[in-house]
């Protein structure tokens, strides 16, 4: 009896000691700077740098935004996927994880990463020239159906997110077979629309808004299920005849699969504080992102369901490898 008690006490002491060590080890993440791989340049990079900056305030060590562009995101994803699952390498990701995978540019898919948090949402918009005389999505669809000319639509690249969005939209409107997609890089599609070389463009709202204010372009609808704060008077495509269309592009943070849950939780908390700060919200608004925090589990479900939708769409378009 005595010995049992003694051994019990010893065990308890050991357990407490181990637990203590464990707590200490956990408390120490991060012991060195966390590297956040940024996959794209332009405004995505700007907002990524700001996010890293704000997250640094909530962690013992800084988060450093490191740009690894190229391959439509595949280069950066491959880099992060190949690093240790210890939370020191995270990626500023987006739906490009699915598009890159289905194009056959990466041998792994979203399951190679464990989600940390969703950060923002961007909703593509459809715009036409004001002098085209199309007041609504329906006007445009009817005109295309009645005419014998194909509609030229400016997008960001074949297989890009704006391409998939347009394809889904025009499919719902029943004019999917009367479209010519013209891919432009570097945000040139709005200019091509202004210069009358294309008839419509599907891009990010921020690229259209100044031209709508000046009266040159009109934005017909946005592709999410709801309206967006930047364009309160513009209907969602679903409201004006596009059935149940609901396509938005998310950006968020992820780490290699197998990263310990407590490390993920810490990063998630730092991200949450950064995203919900006034500074991030106002910067995101100005740049045309919508700050939209989601915790890791919900974000994971979203990634999986979007992956299925994107895979299906790309299959229909013959873009899937």
């Amino acid at each position: 009896m005595k010995t049992t008690r003694k051994s019990l006490m010893l065990t308890a002491a050991a357990a407490i000691m181990f637990a203590g060590f464990n707590v200490q080890a956990k408390a120490e993440f991060p012991e060195k700077p966390v590297e956040m791989t940024v996959l794209f340049g332009g405004t995505a990079q700007t907002i990524g740098q700001l996010l890293a900056d704000l997250m640094s305030k909530n962690l013992a060590e800084p988060v450093v935004a490191v740009s690894r562009t190229g391959g439509g995101g595949a280069v950066g994803y491959s880099h992060v996927q190949s690093t240790g699952a210890d939370g020191y390498n995270i990626v500023w990701n987006s739906n490009s994880i699915s598009t890159s995978h289905y194009r056959g540019n990466m041998p792994f898919n979203y399951e190679a990463f464990t989600p940390i948090a969703r950060v923002s949402v961007e909703t593509p918009a459809l715009a036409v020239r004001s002098d085209a005389g199309w007041k609504s999505l329906e006007d445009m669809a009817n005109a295309v159906k009645a005419g014998d000319k194909k509609l030229k639509v400016g997008i960001s690249g074949n297989g890009s997110f704006t391409h998939l969005t347009s394809a889904a939209l025009f499919d719902k409107m029943g004019i999917g077979d009367k479209i010519v997609y013209v891919p432009y890089g570097k945000g040139k599609a709005p200019v091509e629309l202004l210069a009358k070389r294309v008839d419509a463009a599907v891009q990010w709202p921020g690229q259209f808004i100044p031209h709508q204010q000046s009266g040159d372009l009109s934005i017909l609808c946005v592709t999410g299920k709801d309206r967006i704060p930047q364009l309160k008077d513009t209907p969602s495509c679903a409201e004006v005849g596009a059935g149940d269309l609901d396509i938005t592009m998310w950006r968020g943070l992820a780490a290699p699969a197998g990263t310990p849950a407590d490390v993920v939780a810490k990063l998630q908390a730092a991200a949450k504080a950064a995203i919900e700060s006034g500074e991030f919200k106002s910067a995101a608004d100005k740049i045309g992102f919508e700050a939209a925090y989601l915790p890791a589990d919900e974000f994971g479900k979203l990634i999986a369901s979007d992956d299925a939708v994107i895979g299906d769409l790309m299959g229909k378009l013959g873009l899937k490898k």
């Binding site: 190229g70 074949n158 200019v191």
Partner: protein, 506 residues
């Protein structure tokens, strides 16, 4: 006018001035070190500016952009390695001038031409931003394709003695650029299924490889064989251009600045094309074309005036349409947006004070850059007193660091070395490397615009002849190539006749 005064007030804030000057210096430093570019400097400076006031933030970004554009000429002239892609044309004559012991003159000419080009483009922007923007968007895929094709014809002028060798080099450049992910269709090309290769050959990596590596190898080989090129310390003067030299090239600078502004204002073209076209133009219309390629001051001033005029030109579509023309202006766009300035047609009505502030900041940045670089010449030329073999090692290290820093990729360092070895072998085979750069710079644009035009016309070739300006560029291209081939045939004929006469006489 109130808007102007409020901008004047904002710019005379000491912190804003300090930010512009600091940006200019950062830009010059990044621009002048081979491998580090101003696009990189801008990305590093951007987070700093998040918490600045609008004036200081935009001033610092503009200063960095402008400092970087002019700084690229320093290493182009002194080391024969362009600091930025836009300075590749400056190497041709600038480095020859250094070898002739006239580095100071070349640097002085370069910085004055840079300042001239920049301020010229600023004036064009102020006077006619709306008109230029409206004209520039008329340049669609067909017109840009034709313009780039014309740009490729300058290979003729760069091919030195043999047109065939120039073409070989140009085609190598075009082929190298196809490696990686194709932006339009999102498919991998020439990657053999290896994901890291999807990033392709970065222009800057290839440029550092082609210019720096062969030269470093040559320096070290020459050092071992003791036939090193030695520059007497007494030969290095910080000689500056005389007023007469400046006056005689005034109209050349005006023409090249005009060219640079025009090309800069067309989204998707940019500095390198402008610089090569300006160099070709200067050589073609020079009173002493034989001096080109051997150390002509005009051959330094023309591309420098032109590539700096691109800065003002590129600001036109950025501010009036919200379209970034190159990676550097894409970072600028982020900086403007985060401070609530939305480029586009409304900017000029809603944010008048900020627009004036941008104009003033460009002016201040150019003054700062010219002053720093002009008075820095005496310091820069002292670099030449370092023994070449020691310098070569230092350059190699900087190039390694710089190529890695572009996108944090080790593969890029191997790529630089690989491209450099190929470049060394090519120079041994007397194939010039500059046309490779031209192929690398112009290839992606040429291909993209061609394919976009074909998609728009649904495969109908007649679209390429649907625009007057495109046809003019085709004719110019044919003219340049025809002229070159014709004069080569004539040269060959006279050479043969002289030969026969000599044989007859002996």
């Amino acid at each position: 006018m109130d808007a102007f005064y409020s901008a004047l007030g904002a710019i005379s804030d000491p912190f804003t001035l300090l930010a512009i000057v600091a940006g200019s210096i950062i830009g010059i430093v990044f621009g002048s070190i081979p491998g580090l570019t101003f696009s990189m400097a801008l990305a590093l400076v951007l987070p700093l500016t998040f918490r600045f006031e609008t004036g200081a933030a935009i001033g610092m970004l503009l200063g960095t952009y402008i400092g970087g554009m002019t700084g690229g000429s320093v290493s182009a002239i002194l080391l024969g390695i362009p600091g930025t892609p836009s300075a590749a044309a400056t190497v041709l004559d600038g480095y020859k001038m250094t070898r002739n012991g006239r580095a100071g003159l070349a640097l002085g000419g370069a910085v004055l031409a840079s300042g001239f080009g920049g301020i010229f483009s600023l004036l064009v922007m102020i006077v006619s931003v709306d008109m230029v923007a409206r004209l520039a968007i008329q340049f669609g895929p067909v017109e840009i394709f034709a313009l780039v094709l014309f740009g490729l014809s300058t290979i003729c002028g760069l091919a030195e003695k043999s047109l065939i060798r120039g073409m070989i080099a140009g085609i190598i450049g075009l082929l190298l650029m196809t490696i990686g992910l194709d932006d339009m269709d999102g498919v991998a090309r020439m990657t053999f299924g290896w994901t890291p290769l999807l990033q392709g050959v970065d222009l800057l990596v290839a440029m550092v490889g082609l210019f720096a590596v062969p030269q470093i190898m040559k320096t070290l080989i020459d050092y071992r064989t003791d036939s090193a090129f030695k520059l007497n310390a007494s030969d290095i003067r910080s000689e500056l251009p005389t007023r007469k030299q400046l006056r005689s090239s005034f109209w050349l600078m005006v023409r090249c600045s005009g060219l640079g502004t025009a090309i800069g204002s067309i989204p998707g073209t940019g500095g390198p094309i402008a610089a090569f076209l300006a160099y070709d133009h200067a050589r073609r219309f020079s009173k002493k074309p034989e001096r080109f390629g051997k150390g002509s001051l005009e051959g330094v001033m023309a591309p420098e005036a032109s590539n700096n005029a691109v800065t003002g030109g590129a600001m036109i579509p950025l501010l009036s349409l919200g379209i970034p023309g190159d990676p550097a202006t894409a970072v600028m766009l982020g900086g403007l947006l985060i401070h609530g300035l939305v480029p586009g047609p409304m900017l000029f009505t809603q944010n008048k004070p900020e627009v004036y502030l941008i104009y003033l900041a460009i002016l201040v940045a150019y003054v700062a850059v010219v002053v720093f670089q002009y008075f820095g010449i005496r310091g820069f030329v002292k670099l030449l007193k370092i023994p070449p073999h020691l310098m070569a090692v230092g350059i190699l290290i900087m190039c390694g660091v710089g190529t890695f820093a572009i996108r944090n990729s080790f593969l890029d360092i191997y790529m630089m070395v690989g491209v450099g070895l190929i470049g060394y072998l090519l120079t041994r085979a007397r194939i010039p490397v500059t046309p490779i750069i031209l192929g690398l710079v112009l290839g992606p644009t040429l291909e993209r615009e061609f394919r976009t035009a074909m998609i728009m016309s649904e495969g109908n070739w007649s679209i390429f002849f649907s625009s007057i300006s495109a046809i003019i560029f085709y004719l110019l291209t044919i003219g340049v190539i025809g002229f070159h081939v014709f004069s080569q045939i004539r040269e060959a004929k006279t050479a043969r006749r002289d030969n026969e006469q000599q044989q007859g006489a002996s």
